[in-house]
């Protein structure tokens, strides 16, 4: 982290696509695009259509943590190549080049902060074999710059301010873009972010532009409803443990849950994955693909035993992980960035805010 303060720049909407295309010369640029009813991140095309603020339906996590990737491929070799006794060659995939996420929401950028300690091996600190780091994630993480676009206003599913974020939070961001009249104010938050501004169309921002942005940030902040006091929310850690065996509570909370994976797959902080092999018998790959703790198969053991067979147990684990277990081993930080996608896109309107608050209340009650 550098203590150096950065100079904000301004880019007009007219010049925006040119700047992004210039960035795309050196890195793969991912930017939101409306497709059908959804807003998805796509690789930058002509850079058009990015003048207006778009709230992506999905998070940007797939840029660093693809929905599926080959951990390695394998190939049997030699005369009787097919035979199980044949020699086998393993090959790791080549890493991609640098990437830029343009138009991430501040919550998306903060989402990666939940990934970082896990994929950096902090979870394995006690393991005797040494700390195991995930090179796939870490390579992309080091290679990716994130341009956050500040939210103009909050939706009623938003709760970033409960968990330490805000519409214009710069945590995890390299550059903060704020929509102004005629263009974007680009405030660098890191060296890497500042470097992105080395383009003739990124002109130094005027003081009034900086002030306007600050005012917009404040307005957006105000559009968020009242958050529960931080101390109260921190009680979730103990509350969720206390309610662990309260099956009636969890059954009530999970009644409407469909056990689908929309919440986990749209979540910027959910990092769980599955590992499966695909092969034609001679060559194949070991794939790492997104998995969801809401799926019954997630914990199903080969013996048939399943510690989380009921959807109530799975919902309990998801909420528990985010608001109790993760904070317990990661400095009290929730594994939730408050983006509200899990609420907004839940086909059955499950609201994690309500569950956490209900748990705190129920535990206090007991």
């Amino acid at each position: 982290m550098s203590d150096r303060s950065f100079t904000p720049a301004f880019i007009s909407f007219k010049a925006l696509s040119g700047w992004l295309r210039a960035l795309a010369q050196k890195a793969t640029v991912h930017a939101p695009r409306r497709e059908g009813r959804a807003v998805v991140y796509r690789e930058l095309g002509d850079g058009q259509g990015l003048e207006s603020f778009l709230r992506p339906t999905e998070s940007a996590k797939h840029v660093l943590f693809p929905r599926s990737e080959a951990l390695f491929s394998f190939q049997r070799q030699g005369e009787a190549a097919g035979a199980a006794s044949g020699k086998i060659r393993l090959q790791e995939p080549e890493g991609e080049g640098p990437a830029i996420i343009f138009g991430a929401l501040s919550c998306d950028a903060r989402g990666f902060l939940s990934f970082d300690p896990v994929y950096d091996g902090c979870g394995t600190a006690q393991a005797v074999g040494g700390i195991a780091k995930d090179p796939y994630y870490l390579r992309r993480r080091a290679n990716t710059s994130i341009i956050v676009r500040a939210c103009k206003s909050a939706l009623n599913t938003c709760f970033c301010h409960w968990v330490g974020g805000g519409p214009a939070s710069t945590e995890g961001a390299d550059l903060l873009a704020t929509d102004l009249e005629g263009g974007l104010l680009l405030s660098p938050c890191s060296e890497a972010g500042a470097a992105l501004l080395e383009h003739p169309d990124c002109v130094p921002a005027l003081p009034e532009q900086i002030a306007a942005a600050a005012a917009l940030h404040a307005a957006a902040e105000r559009s968020l409803g009242e958050a529960p006091p931080a101390g109260e929310l921190a009680a979730s850690r103990a509350a969720l443990l206390a309610l662990f065996e309260n099956s009636e509570f969890w059954q009530r909370q999970s009644a409407q849950c469909l056990s689908c994976g929309a919440c986990t797959y749209l979540c910027p902080t959910c990092y769980c994955f599955n590992i499966t092999d695909e092969s034609n018998g001679i060559a194949g790959a070991r794939l790492r693909s997104w998995d969801s703790c809401m799926s019954a198969l997630f914990t199903l053991e080969a013996s048939g035993h399943n510690p989380r067979a009921a959807k109530a147990a799975r919902l309990k684990n998801r909420v528990g992980h985010k608001f109790s277990y993760y904070p317990a081993i990661h400095e009290g930080r929730f594994s939730c960035c408050g983006c509200g996608r899990c609420i907004k896109s839940c086909p059955s309107s499950v609201d994690i805010r309500k569950i956490v608050l209900a748990a705190i209340k129920e535990a206090a009650h007991v």
């Binding site: 009787a80 190549a81 097919g82 018998g281």
Partner: protein
């Protein structure tokens, strides 16, 4: 897994159009293949020994043989790998003969195709699991369907071997077509004299239960344990009381009934004993002719019956029998010859069928053995026989040869001369087919000794003229037109599958060909077996044949059943459905679609689950295709195995 691949040359049958060594070389690089070679004749003893040796030498755990169709030699090779210590289901075949080398000449394409078929077989074999058959007890009883000469032979042979036999005959008496014949060729001995005693044996055999006037209603179960429901048709006569005295048939006032036994040559009564030697010799009422039924009153037979056996209210009844094997011997019927307009289409009374002529010749027939033509009862002098009526004639959908007409026509020409010494027989024929023992000599005798005139040619028209029937035809040998003024015309009407044969086949779950004849397991190697285990064929139901062949097949079928039921336990085919209980959701869809009721619902800790009854499952896999989550899988044809074959072809 360590797979061995053997590419068979089959002499030049495969090697002629497939590069077998090339296929073997390709196969060496297929997944899990540890050994691959080509081989001259895989099925021959040296071939099998080579496979066994390779299994031992290379520690193979699975084998693929690419050769002929698995329908031929799969059992052979399974036994071979078993001899080498492998489970017999750790084996797959690729059919590179019938499906490759024999249907195309392009060496490159064939070689490529053969390699792909091997690749598929390897892909499937990699997912094969060892399977072990289950044993189950058998019911040592056999059902014979049809009481003609083939069925009688089968029943007697099986009963003599100590098996209980249930014989079902749809007519009120056994005897079948042979009972209707006067004499038999080529010995010209009396048909009923040789058949009659066998019929009596059936009646008296302690091991045989005879149900005449009965039909098979339904069949369930499987080899070794069939359940058969038999419909006993209401004869309106209580056969337990009937003594067969015949008083009722004498007194019956309805004398215009159609005489089925006599092929309608003369009328009969409504209550009948079909013929004097009938077994069982019991009366039965033909309701469509009986006045009690057609007019609602009569009751004569009931009045005269000394034992009070008549019961007009009798209903069809049912019996259930359990049997271990089934012999179908349902014979044949004559085709409906009236489609032939050129022969008068049935309008001329003196154009009759050969079977009707048998009845006219028979001493026990309606004319007492005197040949009298139907129109006026006169004794005919010039008799014309026309061959191949409804045989070898694609225009009426009967392209096949009935096989026995040439011989019985010759016999009938001889008998005509015997009955009417001054008569003259003319035989219009296409070819004379007489390949049996003593048969060709017989057809020469009729021409040389009995002066029957054989005219090679088709009859184009028959028309009546002054009390005679003028038969116009061509003599293709002479190249002339021929006209014969005949007193009687006898048509050698061909046979066809017995009416109702397809329906019975469906009950027995056996196949039948496009004409309705039942399909044998293999045309050469399994002539009396069917593709349904435990069901065998005898006589003309499998294809038209003469008496000696029918008898031989009856004995053969009996031998097969005796062999089958000589074992106390049978092994069930383990290629059956299996439920992964942990994945079953108990929705019951598999239970609903199973054609064999082989799946039952069980309770697993309060939850419904499906369970396969191993001995009932026949392995069709309909359940597997129905189960949405694939919790029920057909062993040896699992989803993953079929997907592996598809993917080997399409993706890899």
């Amino acid at each position: 897994m360590r797979i061995g691949v053997f590419i068979c040359h089959c002499g030049s049958n495969i090697a002629g159009t497939v590069d077998c060594a090339g296929v073997a070389a390709q196969a060496a690089r297929f997944p899990d293949v540890a050994y691959s070679t080509d081989i001259m004749y895989a099925c021959a003893e040296p071939g099998q020994d080579a496979i066994i040796e390779a299994i031992r030498e290379h520690g193979l755990t699975g084998v693929v043989v690419a050769s002929c169709t698995p329908r031929m030699h799969e059992p052979t090779f399974r036994r071979a790998v078993e001899r080498a210590g492998l489970n017999r289901y750790m084996f797959e075949m690729a059919n590179i003969r019938e499906h490759v080398s024999w249907i195309g000449k392009d060496m490159d394409a064939n070689t490529n195709k053969a390699a792909e078929l091997v690749r598929m077989a390897v892909a499937k074999l990699r997912l094969n699991r060892e399977l072990t058959p289950k044993s189950f007890p058998v019911t040592k009883r056999v059902l014979v369907i049809g009481g003609g000469v083939a069925g009688i032979q089968a029943a007697l042979d099986a009963a003599d071997a100590g098996l209980e036999v249930v014989l079902v005959e749809k007519e009120p008496s056994i005897g079948g077509k042979m009972a209707k014949l006067d004499k038999t060729f080529p010995t010209v001995d009396c048909s009923s004299c040789i058949l009659g005693p066998r019929m009596v044996d059936v009646a008296q055999h302690p091991k045989i239960t005879l149900y005449a006037a009965a039909e098979v209603e339904s069949v369930s179960g499987y080899v070794g344990n069939f359940s058969v429901r038999i419909r006993k048709k209401a004869t309106c006569v209580d056969w337990d009381k009937c003594t067969g005295c015949g008083l009722c048939t004498e007194k019956c006032p309805s004398r215009k009934s159609y005489d089925r036994f006599n092929e309608g040559v003369g009328p009969t009564t409504a209550i009948i004993i079909p013929f004097p030697q009938a077994i069982p010799k019991k009366a039965s009422i033909e309701r469509e002719f009986c006045r009690q039924f057609t007019r609602g009153k009569c009751g004569v037979c009931a009045k005269v019956c000394p034992t009070g056996a008549i019961d007009y209210d009798m209903q069809d009844s049912f019996v259930e029998v359990e049997v271990g094997g089934i012999v179908a011997a349902t014979g044949y019927d004559l085709m409906d010859w009236t489609v032939y307009e050129e022969y008068g289409g049935g309008r001329y009374p003196d154009v009759i069928t050969s079977l009707q002529y048998e009845r006219l010749l028979s001493a026990s027939g309606p004319t007492g053995g005197h040949v009298r033509r139907p129109s006026d009862g006169a004794e005919p002098r010039d008799v014309v026989f026309i061959q191949c009526v409804g045989s070898r004639d694609p225009s009426v959908g009967r392209p096949y040869c009935s096989g026995f007409c040439c011989m019985y026509t010759a016999k009938q020409a001889i008998l005509t001369k015997d009955h009417i010494p001054d008569s003259q027989s003319y035989v219009f024929y296409m070819d004379i087919r007489s390949p049996g023992k003593g048969y060709d000599e017989f057809t020469r005798r009729v021409q040389e000794e009995y002066q029957a005139q054989y005219i090679r040619g088709r009859v184009s028209r028959i028309y009546p003229s002054r009390g005679k029937l003028v038969v116009c035809g061509a003599d293709t040998l002479m190249g002339t037109q021929v006209e014969v003024a005949a007193d009687l015309v006898v048509l050698a009407v061909g046979g066809e599958a017995a009416h109702g044969a397809p329906q019975l086949a469906e009950k027995l779950r056996i196949s039948y060909d496009q004409y309705g004849f039942f399909m044998e397991g293999h045309p050469k190697l399994k002539p009396v077996e069917t593709n349904t285990a435990g069901v065998f064929l005898a006589g003309s139901c499998q294809g038209l044949k003469d008496i000696p062949s029918s008898v031989a097949q009856g004995s053969a079928a009996a031998a097969k059943v005796i062999g089958l039921l000589s074992r106390d336990m049978l092994e069930s085919d383990p290629q059956i459905a299996q439920v992964t209980v942990s994945r079953c959701i108990g929705c019951g869809k598999c239970i609903e679609v199973c054609p064999f009721k082989a799946i039952q619902e069980i309770d697993l800790r309060g939850q419904p689950r499906a369970e396969v009854i191993e001995t009932v499952c026949q392995g069709c896999g309909v359940c597997n295709a129905t189960c949405p989550q694939g919790a029920i899988q057909l062993s040896h044809f699992t989803d993953n195995q079929i997907l592996a074959e598809v993917e080997a072809l399409c993706r890899f």
